[in-house]
Each structure stands twice: as structure tokens, then as C-alpha cells.
Symmetry: C2
Subunit: 267 residues, 2 copies
């Protein structure tokens, strides 16, 4: 059952990519952003302007007239910020993949987590309805409340406890951050030979596209899964001036071989 | 200038993913596949049926009535197969990223390379018009001929010599094969905590989507580029039962830090 909240009052603490995309999604879903806080007044003002909120840059100016504080600041700033909010006894939810709900519970029982499992860039729109929203609450009522709010902005809402969220965050580093770095490495290799990154874009798009309907283990290709030692040795020789890339090549190839452990097969 | 060839006669040697997708693309562009060769008659027959060709499984049955032999077999089988074709003095082009044109030139001057830089799966359609076609010819006339043929099936045709193609192939291992394996690792991490791969699919799609309009170095996110040592240490602890993943995590993080070398920044 989907409880629709109209015109919830939401305060956004932070003005980075997560704060920006969440604030816009809430606003588009019909909620009201009352204030945007950032230490940097210019950043606060920019986001506040976009979502029709008041910009503030001191915690003394935080208004208690809100239903929910969304904490979208750096992980290591969360714990020290909570006391400025918990005195109002309103619900506080952080948006971090890595921070245990306990960090909020030390200051207030009115606590939850509202973690969007996505990579956000300032300049790129994201279809929030497809973003997996990972919800945790200090109690069942808070969990249900945050789940309903999450369904206002996304079709993919999951209950995820702090231990699971930590694993999700780690998995996201492999699936997103490390993947993006492999794209960067491939571009560097090309540029050294007078070729442009454009040549790789269709391959990158197709590699990700395959995963929409398959599991990655079922569509693995390349010399490692074929156990093609000659090609792997040639590649390692080509990388001999870049020992770190050589190590990355070796480790990832070994892990593919270990996971698949197949003899040679047709191209 | 685009020279359009009508009804070229093409013989496909091989019946794997590259052979299958290339044969279909040629056929769709109005060319005629005369024969499909595979050691395995069933595989030859299946592809031959789809493209209206004759299936053969012995080199004695190869017909000289063709304009072009496309060699789409395993890299290490190319050299030994060429003599069965070169006696007819027709153009022979291989489709490998890793094999030097010299391997063909040792047997015939009528040689070229027709390398599609893409990952092909048997069960997934690919829009061939977006596949980068990397062309090399033994002389300018052959190069021009293969370029024109490539333009019949793709909008992205490049001249790529054997040294460059070797680098492209290596770059593709990072951008495609290793990337897919990172997807697999992330799925493994989740399944150990009772979560499904579906949760990661939007993140994977968005990570690749960003790259359509940005260079990867400009959109890197995650703990390594932020130099967030606390999160990286937590992740390494979580991986302590999986030393190879720990090593992959460390190496990729170090390479990101080295490439970016930034102090802490806002989320």
C-alpha cells in the first residue's frame, strides 16, 4: 500500500550532488524544501534557489518548522552535525552508504537512513524513479514512513539494514567507482597510441547494456575466461612500462580464471 | 565518398559470435554470404541457414567463387588456416584485435583486417551501425575496399594499423572484460548478504551512461578519489576473507589516487 504524503516539509543539510538530486526529487514529488544548509553560503543559495527554499549557512539559523532533516553531508561530518538537529526532536535521516544508523541513535531515537544507491553528477539528470532507495528506520513506524516517502520519488524501494548497506556501498565501489577507473585506464592506453576515447564508447555502452538482462558471470568474454595464455602474456608485455597496470591486469585475469575455470573454447 | 558495393560474395570462416553478427550485418546490407565454414557441421549449418549460405565443414569444399574470405576463428587458428584460402588468390581479411596483418601477408599479399571493436553475445542483438570497424589493408586499394565495405554496415569506420589494433584490443580488455568482471564481483559481494544483483543494475547503467558525454577522469567518484582513508580501510577489513579482492581494491584505489591526487572534497 502506498501512503502519499502531500507537502511534507523537508530540510536539506548539504549542497553536494546527493543533496541536489534528492532536493529536486522531493520538490518534483510535491514536497516542500524549507531550508538548505551549507557551510558555503553560495552553494546553499544556489540549491535553495532551484528548489524554492531558504538558504542558511549557520546551524543557529536552522528552523524547527520541518518534518524531516535530510543529512547529505560528508560521512565524517555526520556525527558532529547531529546534535544541532536532534534538539528539535524531528526525524533525522542520513543518506550515506557507509554510516551505521547507530551514529544517529547515539543522539536521537528519531532516526533513519535514506540512501540512494546511485552515482550523481552535478551536470547530469538522473531518472530518480529508477534509483534504488535503501531505507532503514530506528523503529517500524519510522521505517514505514521513510519507505512511503521513498516511493514518492522512486519505484525501487528496499529495506536495508546497516550491515547490508555497508556491503552495498562496497559493492558499489566495484560496480561504479572502479568500473569508471577501468574506463579511464582504457582511454589512457589509447591516447598513447594516437586514438581517441570515442572508439571505446560503443563497447562500454554494450558491456553495460548486456547486464540489463544477464548476470555478468554468464556473459564474461575475453582472453582470461578463454584461458588464452598467449594473448594475456602479450598484454602483460605491452604493459611492462606500467607495473601497476600490469598488476591490475594479472589480478583481474586470475580472478576471472578462478571464477570460471574453463578450458579453451571457440571465439 | 561512399562506394556502395551491391551483392558482394562473402565467405565466412567460423561460426562463433563474431562470425554470426558479421554475417548477419553483411546480409542485411545486401551482400551475399556464399558459404559458412565451421569444423562443427551443426554450427556451420545453423549460421548458414540464417544467412542463406551453404554450410561446409572441410576446407576441400571451400568454393573459389567468392570475393572475400572473412576469417572469424580463434586467433591461434588463423595462421594455419590461411594456406587453405590463399591458393584461390581472393582477398582474405581476419577479424582479430590481436593478430598482426603480417600473419596473413606471410601467405598472400591479398590481405586485410576487418576488426569490429565490440563485444558480441549469441543471444543479444547489436546495432552494427554503431560498431567501430577497424580497417587495415596490405595496400591502399585493399584498405579503401575494406573501408567501403565497412561503411556498408557501420557508421564508425577507422583506419587502424596492427600496432594500434593491439593497443585497442588491450584497452578493450580493461573497458569490457575487466569491467564485466567487476560487475560479477559486486554481485558476489551482495549475494553473500542476501541482496540481489537487481539492486546494482541502475548504478551500472548510469556509470556507463555518464561516459557517453564525459571523459571518465572527469566523473570519477568514490572513496579513492576523495582520499577517504577511513572508508577505504573499512572496505579492506570487510574483504579480509577474500585476499584477492583486497588486492584488487588496493591496486585500483592506489591508481585512482595517483591519477587524481586530490585532497578531501565535498560529497
Amino acid at each position: 500500500m502506498h501512503v502519499k504524503f502531500n507537502n511534507m516539509r523537508i530540510t536539506i543539510i548539504g549542497s553536494g550532488n546527493v543533496a541536489t538530486h534528492l532536493a529536486a526529487a522531493f520538490k518534483n514529488a510535491g514536497h516542500r524544501i524549507v531550508q538548505v544548509y551549507s557551510r558555503n553560503m553560495q552553494n546553499a543559495a544556489l540549491l535553495a534557489y532551484h528548489v524554492g527554499a531558504e538558504a542558511i549557512n549557520t546551524h543557529q539559523n536552522i528552523s524547527p518548522d520541518t518534518d524531516l532533516f535530510i543529512l547529505a553531508i560528508k560521512d565524517d561530518a555526520i556525527t558532529s552535525f547531529v546534535p544541532y538537529l536532534s534538539l528539535y526532536n524531528k526525524l533525522i535521516a542520513h543518506t550515506s552508504g557507509a554510516v551505521n544508523i547507530q551514529e544517529l541513535l547515539n543522539a536521537t531515537l528519531n532516526a533513519g537512513v535514506f540512501y540512494p544507491l546511485q552515482t550523481f553528477s552535478r551536470t547530469k539528470e538522473v531518472n530518480f524513479r529508477e534509483v534504488p532507495m535503501c531505507i532503514e528506520g530506528a523503529d517500524e513506524a519510522i521505517t514505514k514512513f521513510l519507505e512511503a516517502l521513498a516511493r514518492d520519488i522512486s519505484n525501487n524501494v528496499y529495506r536495508v539494514n546497516s550491515a547490508q548497506r555497508k556491503v552495498l556501498h562496497l559493492a558499489a565501489v566495484f560496480a561504479c567507482n572502479f568500473t569508471n577507473h577501468l574506463y579511464a585506464i582504457s582511454g589512457q592506453l589509447l591516447s598513447g597510441s594516437g586514438m581517441g576515447f570515442d572508439m571505446l564508447r560503443p563497447l562500454i555502452a554494450e558491456t553495460a547494456d548486456k547486464i540489463k538482462e544477464h548476470l555478468p558471470g554468464n556473459v564474461q568474454t575475453g582472453p582470461a575466461v578463454r584461458n588464452d595464455e598467449q594473448t594475456m602474456n602479450t598484454h602483460l608485455q605491452m604493459l611492462q612500462q606500467q607495473p601497476r597496470l600490469q598488476q591490475i591486469y594479472t589480478l583481474l585475469s586470475q580472478d576471472i580464471i578462478k571464477n570460471h575455470n574453463k578450458p579453451n573454447e571457440d571465439k
